[in-house]
């Protein structure tokens, strides 16, 4: 196991290197940030001084060299916009996004698995049609629409929940639900699909012949067999969330990584972009390793090269 994980870590390191190079060079193609930081009527000499002070005048490769040299000491540079170490900013924002992602993903998975499995028990039946329509609506409703409507309904009309911001558990309810809706709809579809084939297999018949209860058949025998595509899609959704649930974070005023990255990209705050990409990539790579481990744990037939 250790060998495998070490190997994967090494691979991730390669990906990380590629990612860093891409992000570093490509993001610098998006314009000179001095226009964002200086008043529009700034004289040319001040503008030039600004560029020089921030090292934009050096050849790209030199800038990259500096960046790498600092990176070795875990120095990600400092934010041009907020004038604070980029790493601190990212580390402060990350827990918010992570909490959001974990809660939303857990909620989505539980609901999707239950609903998808129920639907799969009688394909094309009434319950199945119902769940199918609901989950498709969930999968295709725009996040921002849902966010604003849910604020209007639950915070403004009903006054059950706060509109936005950070605070006690009640502040997390709306963002988590809004964020969970789409993955939930999507996963319910995937669960349904793979559960239908799992439930029509011979081993399910064997279990019924043993007198195993319907619940155990669905959630123990069939589900584990149906888990591979579910995990793949859930992993994709989760990494999307780790990358930042931009819309939800922005609307609900949650200081997460998605909002930070969006602002940093808009402000060409390269140090923060780089630090953010590296940190989220680390999380996503870990997630991918976890997914592969989950494959192996769930299906003993899968071999690792």
């Amino acid at each position: 196991m250790n060998g495998y994980v070490t190997k994967r870590m090494l691979h991730s390191l390669i990906s990380m290197m590629g990612l860093i190079i891409l992000v570093f060079f490509l993001s610098r193609l998006t314009g000179n940030p001095s226009d964002l930081y200086l008043p529009i009527d700034t004289p040319a000499d001040v503008r030039a001084a600004f560029s020089q002070a921030h090292g934009f005048d050096d050849p790209m490769i030199v800038q990259f060299g500096h960046f790498l040299a600092n990176l070795v000491h875990l120095d990600f540079g400092s934010s041009m916009r907020l004038e604070r170490p980029a790493l601190n900013l990212v580390l402060e924002a990350f827990p918010v996004s992570l909490t959001l992602a974990v809660l939303a993903m857990a909620l989505a998975l539980v609901i999707a698995i239950v609903a998808g499995s129920l639907a799969a028990r009688s394909p094309n039946g009434v319950l199945d049609r119902f769940i199918n329509v609901i989950s498709l609506c969930g999968a295709s409703v725009p996040n921002f629409w849902l966010a604003l409507v849910s604020v209007l309904v639950f915070a403004v009309w009903m006054r059950w929940l706060p509109t936005s911001g950070m605070g006690g558990p009640e502040y997390w309810v709306l963002p988590v639900i809004v964020l969970a809706v789409r993955p939930c709809g999507l996963l319910a579809q995937v669960v349904r699909g793979s559960m239908i084939s799992a439930l029509s297999s011979a081993y399910v018949k064997t279990a019924r012949a043993k007198g195993v209860s319907q619940r155990v058949i669905v959630f123990v025998h069939a589900l584990r067999n149906a888990m591979l595509p579910i995990i793949t899609v859930a992993g994709d959704q989760a990494s999307g969330m780790i990358n930042g649930a931009v819309v939800v974070e922005v609307i609900f005023g949650l200081p997460g990584i998605g909002r930070l990255m969006m602002e940093s990209i808009q402000y060409r705050d390269f140090a923060v972009i780089q630090a953010g990409v590296i940190l989220t990539a680390c999380a996503i790579f870990l997630l991918n390793i976890a997914i592969d481990l989950a494959y192996a744990l769930l299906d003993p037939r899968i071999k690792h090269a």
Partner: protein
């Protein structure tokens, strides 16, 4: 529970239909039978005659839809099971009535260890986890699973066909049911193990007065085990009675044709004395294969399983080499290694003098053309999404120079006719055929390139006797016509006896004896061979 009817289980006027695209298929029509405590009832009949469906119906295992029970009742100690609530049905299933399924690889859940699955029967019916595990282990040992304690946590795909069948049986007899339904319980078992399992079932019957419903196409087993027999054809019962009655004076023409088809009644094949060619077609030298289960992500490493321990033999042109041996003795592993699906641990094999174990590109191409394989399970080995035409012509599509495209259609038609199918079947898909017909399609495909060698791994064991006889006849005819050689793996000794020129007996990964069929059968040298021959119900029945 009042035992009003007096029978343990009584099926009355049972009819089951399936709805399919081509209309309603009446799979079971007005079937009635009964079974008493301690009694064995055998159901015989050709493939698709409704044997499995009628027995599944009483456990509530038919998919509804597409299936529908249109009439009848199933009385268990007087209680109509078809009207039972799902809870009651679950209570009975597994504990009072249990079933051994036909297709063992599919019937075991691939993602749970076999020990867990056997123990589940206990747990479901209220036994605590630890105790359930202990009991499961005891059971697995009882059905003769080698090394049961060590392999308790292995997964189904790591076992041989016969081993899986034993695991299924262990699961079914776990709670000493009143009625055991065994759907082809011994198809994949070699005769020694088969004898042991049958003995075990008999013992349970004696001890507990268990009723046994045997679905089988093996007349030997019927003769040796059953009290009464029911013959089914096209969903109906055509004949019923005691074994003696039915076997000695069959009334229905179908029954008669079935009894005629029994292999082994026709003596040994004539071995035309050929001058042995200088270089045999296939030469295997000290082939060894060990399955190493490396330390899994979540499991410690296992000692390697030695599936083949230095196997050597030759196969001459036009010769049929039968391979028999205990389940798990390495027969499948042997052929899988020969065709390159497994990597040999050591040793070598030569086809026309060229190494198959470490082949050059040229040799590999030659071998792929000249050595064809017919797999045990015809359903799994045909791509369900391809038409028969596409399946049979696939070898030519792969080896482009073998036959010009324009002639494919003609040749596919010819091949289908050669294997006893019709030309117009080419447009159909595999699921539209019965098991026996599918196996013929697989054989037609194997013949397409006019190979030198065809390897059959239990190619006929899933077929009922009449179809089996037809397929064997076909293979024989093809051999005479094209001078084919066969590597023929079977656990059914009468079949081997009637088909093979030479026999090779395997035991625990080794060849313990090999020689001409007649010699082996009439004068076995090795203890294991003798044990094997004695255990065969039909052969011993004949001998008796």
């Amino acid at each position: 529970m009042s035992e009003t009817s007096g029978h343990l289980v009584e099926v009355k006027h049972l009819s089951v239909e399936f709805h399919t695209r081509n209309g309603v298929v009446p799979a079971v029509r007005d079937v009635s039978w009964h079974i008493d405590r301690g009694e064995t009832l055998a159901i015989l009949g050709e493939s698709g005659s409704g044997k499995s469906v009628s027995s599944s119906a009483l456990m509530g295992l038919i998919d509804i839809p597409p299936g529908r029970i249109t009439s009848g009742e199933v009385l268990y100690c007087g209680e109509d099971l078809l009207k039972a609530t799902p809870e009651r049905q679950r209570e009975i299933n597994g504990s009072r009535i249990a079933m051994v399924f036909q297709d063992t690889l599919a019937a075991l859940n691939p993602v749970y260890p076999i020990g867990w699955q056997v123990a589940e029967t206990f747990r479901t019916h209220g036994v605590a986890r630890a105790e359930a595990n202990a009991k499961a282990l005891e059971l697995l040992e009882r059905v003769g699973l080698p090394n049961a304690a060590a392999r308790f946590r292995d997964y189904p795909h790591q076992f041989s066909g016969g081993q899986r069948q034993r695991i299924m049986i262990a699961m079914a007899i776990a709670l000493n049911p009143d009625l055991l339904i065994a759907d082809e319980p011994t198809t994949a078992l070699d005769v020694t193990v088969q004898a042991r399992i049958l003995g075990l079932l008999k013992e349970l019957q004696r001890e507990r007065g268990m009723g046994l419903l045997m679905i089988t196409h093996d007349l030997g087993i019927v003769a040796g085990m059953a009290d009464r027999v029911v013959i089914m054809n096209a969903g109906r019962i055509v004949e019923a009675g005691t074994v003696k009655q039915v076997f000695e004076s069959p009334q229905h023409p179908y029954t008669r044709s079935l009894l005629d088809a029994i292999p082994g009644r026709h003596g040994f094949p004539d071995i035309a004395e050929r001058a042995a060619p200088a270089e045999p077609l296939l030469r295997v030298e000290e082939l060894t294969k060990e399955y190493v289960t490396p330390a899994g992500l979540f499991r410690p490493a296992r000692p390697p399983v030695r599936a083949l321990g230095g196997v050597s033999f030759t196969l001459a042109q036009g010769e049929t080499l039968g391979i028999v041996g205990e389940s798990g003795s390495g027969k499948s592993t042997l052929v899988r290694t020969l065709i390159g699906l497994e990597e040999a641990t050591s040793g070598d094999a030569f086809f026309r003098g060229r190494s198959l174990i470490d082949p050059t590109a040229e040799t590999r191409d030659l071998a792929q053309r000249q050595i064809q394989m017919v797999f045990q399970d015809p359903t799994a080995s045909l791509n369900p999404r391809m038409s028969v035409f596409e399946i049979v012509s696939e070898p030519w599509a792969i080896h482009r120079d073998a036959l010009p495209r324009a002639q494919w259609e003609q040749r596919v038609g010819d091949l289908l006719e050669e294997v006893g199918l019709k030309r117009e079947h080419a447009g159909r898909h595999p699921h539209q055929f019965s098991g026996g017909q599918r196996q013929r399609i697989a054989i037609a495909r194997a013949l397409a390139l006019k190979p030198d060698i065809i390897i059959c791994d239990e190619a006929v064991s899933s077929l009922d006797v009449s179809v089996q006889a037809q397929v064997i006849a076909l293979l024989k005819a093809l051999k005479d016509e094209f001078g084919l050689s066969y590597l023929f793996i079977a656990h059914d000794l009468p079949v081997v006896r009637s088909f093979a020129d030479r026999v090779l007996v395997m035991h625990k990964g080794m060849i313990v004896e090999q020689g001409p069929t007649r010699e082996i059968f009439e004068n076995p040298q090795h203890d294991y061979t003798r044990e094997l021959l004695n255990a065969d119900p039909l052969l011993s029945h004949h001998a008796a």
